[in-house]
Symmetry: C3
Subunit: 342 residues, 3 copies
């Protein structure tokens, strides 16, 4: 593609400063860009590269404009502008509609003419696929699933029976949606499986990362709200609810029946135990441990950052005895008080 | 299904209090139940809903019976009763036996007439599948595997060569059983692969969660005992042994050669290092870190729960210097002792 | 196989002490070995089994030789010698070259005559597979991928479009290489996907564990250096770089754009946040939390090992107030100083 800078800016309703006629073919990072590329500045620590980038144009915040000697698209939200321009310059080619001859399709399915089912997919009975749905190679979609328009399911993903997925959803490779929840009742030391009778309901415009697993509900459903973004290898246990537009980074695990609010941002490898409530607009840094409900929005953290191993051994030994240390401090305070009074 | 309450109670050898003839069609949660449903009370904090539930009947512990104005099944173990009744009212339909035309079957396999192999499965040479085994779509079972009666393997799971699986096992989608262990020897800074010559042996009535991975042994085998229940995304490294009837929640990782006892209950996202021994009846809360053997049964924990980010920053800085703080307290104690003696 | 001890020793350029003609058929662990087996001693705590092992021969370090009454292969690096001898005695049988009739191959592919593509694989357009590449059943390799000689891709793995993989690489089952990175820009509370335009480049002799995920780069590429060894269920986010001969154990997560040095050894379930730099030869113990760059080689750790639950509750409560405790100690020091001066 070869686009005038002015035409790119028009796509996102932004202004151009400088040569509006310069031609752009691709996006690139500040330090790697070549002529023909458009680059962007979101992180102040890369400002120093603005003067030396070989890009033909830059997407930039108004405050950085004085530092910029290139044609620029000026916008309050550089990250969004970059996302939109990158998508415009590098469109994903639409799949050719149709069902591959090696795909196995169940009885009584409703598959839109504009949907694409790639090689070696297996679709169960009574499945509905909306307009322009794309199911990549090797996927299994079990009976009774309903999948909304324009949703894309990547290779070797599994959608278990009766799962409901909205429109414009992206499910990355290897994700498992609707496996049985981990429900066990203990009888005389042995575990008896509790039937998992609910399903998973996924809203519109949700993204689900590679090898992420979302279990179906035990009686009621597991619910993923509109616009939720889940990274890779996240575990979502049965009956979890995730509120609209919440984003969660990779490797985080959420135990059963926890309700997470809207517009939360949760870092990677966070452990969240079951039956909690997390308010809207909560942010949690990576590797935190959440064992109680969070009632107020705000930024939360926990975890012990690394030290040299020998220092950690010392700290670790002291930590084990922290209760004792606190009692000794209390004792010192009492003794000192006695001395001061005497 | 439409069953008399008395007949349901009979299924599980429990007593009915109230109208034994009321008709039950389904199970439901206390607050969501409608007429025709049977519900249950396991958690005291939901007692308040007993009086308002619209369910036709309740499964209940004798101590809660005075609070209940509905027909009731009364039992000491409500969770187990619910599991059994839910399974009875909502039976899983048995697969039709046979091998799908798209499945690829190796040479010299022994596949029971009552087994079901779904579309696009690939079964290697010399595989044995017992009676009523069901292999869902897209699974790969490599050469030499032996799989016991009534075991179900869900979609896109992989069973690597020569793995032995017992009876009534459930393997959830995307699980990988028998991949090579992470055995590497270092020669002059480069890693050389140590052949992984053992296999995985899985006992009867084991459940293995979605996308869980269990590596084959290096020389000897990785062994999962009878009745073990593993949740999703658990990593079990080579030569691990997990004792009978132990349950482990999602995202927990177990390093190589660790031996876990019987009847343990281990929470989610627990890190367990290698070559440890964990006694029987050990319980571990979520997100704990196990770096030493546990010799006594009991409840164990670790981890730092979240705080507001600014509080965590303060605690974190103090924690780093905890050894120094402890030394200062020691110093204070000495000085105070001198003062008191003077 | 039935090999003279002298011939085995010759394979690895090591010396024999004792009966060089004894016949070896297999490898086994010290305590499980039978006549005909060769065993090995790497861990001093197993020295006691040297005198009772039933193995016909032992691979041993010179310092342990005096304790050994068996024919022995003597070497400075027992682990490497064992790896090489085990591989020699238990060779992996080479796949028969060819493309299975159920595999689906795209247009314009370049597939070596010596490559093997097993049942139900789906290979996209313009894919290059080198000599003796083996693609196990159920794999999906999307368009534009290039895979070097002797690389093995195990069952149900997914290689997304345009990924470049070197020679002698092993990709274990269920691994996902080249899924979209987790790039999102926030506009008025909603997340907009940032196109992920880079790819993944994997060097020669890399191992990638079962169900591990490696995301493609956002603009530039995600790069895995020569000889890197990744265990199961590792998450490698977009634009990460991992230096040559670094090994990482299972369940570790690496956030975006982090650069890890060469010859590092990183334990399991380590959380590594984004945009960090980790020096060469850094070692990190399991379950550590890395939130800052590491500039010097060395051994690093963090994490709180388990205690009895009631002790942890006490420590945990104290930890929350550690800043306050430190201030109280400071106060005590001041007061004591006043008393001493008075």
């Amino acid at each position: 593609m070869n686009v005038r800078l002015a035409d790119l800016a028009k796509q996102i309703n932004a202004d151009v400063v400088g040569d509006a006629d310069c031609k752009i073919t691709s996006v690139a990072a500040l330090t790697k860009a070549a002529p023909g590329d458009i680059t962007f500045l979101t992180d102040k620590k890369y400002r120093k590269y603005l003067s030396t980038t070989k890009a033909s144009a830059v997407i930039i915040h108004p405050t950085d404009l004085p530092l910029c000697n290139k044609p620029a698209i000026v916008t309050e939200n550089v990250a969004v502008a970059f996302a939109l321009i990158a998508a415009y310059l590098h469109p994903i080619s639409k799949a050719v509609p149709g069902v591959h001859s090696t795909a196995v399709i169940g009885l009584n399915c409703s598959i839109a003419d504009t949907a694409t089912i790639h090689a070696n997919c297996v679709i169960g009975d009574n499945v509905t696929l909306g307009n322009e749905v794309e199911v990549a190679a090797g996927c299994v979609i079990e009976f009774g699933c309903k999948i909304g328009d324009n949703t894309v399911i990547h290779a070797n993903a599994v959608i278990n029976h009766d799962v409901i997925i909205g429109r414009e959803v992206i499910i990355h490779p290897g994700a498992i949606i609707g496996s049985d929840g981990f429900g066990m009742a203990n009888q005389d030391g042995k575990w008896i499986k509790v039937p998992q009778l609910g399903t998973v309901v996924i809203g519109d415009r949700v993204d689900i990362g590679a090898n992420t697993t979302i279990d179906r509900g035990a009686i009621e459903d597991t619910v993923i709200g509109i616009g939720v973004k889940l990274d890779n290898q996240i575990q979502v246990a049965h009956n979890t609810q995730i509120g609209e537009h919440t984003a969660i980074a990779g490797c985080t695990g959420i135990a059963g029946s926890t309700i997470i609010g809207k517009h939360c941002a949760i870092g990677g490898m966070v452990a969240i135990t079951g039956h909690l409530q997390i308010a809207d607009y909560v942010q949690v840094t990576a590797n935190s441990m959440i064992v109680n409900s969070i009632k107020e929005s705000g930024l939360y953290s926990s975890g012990m950052p690394i030290q040299k191993n020998r220092d950690w051994h010392r700290v670790s030994a002291r930590l084990k005895n922290l209760d004792d240390l606190a009692k000794r401090v209390k004792q010192l305070e009492k003794q000192l008080e006695l001395i001061r009074k005497s």
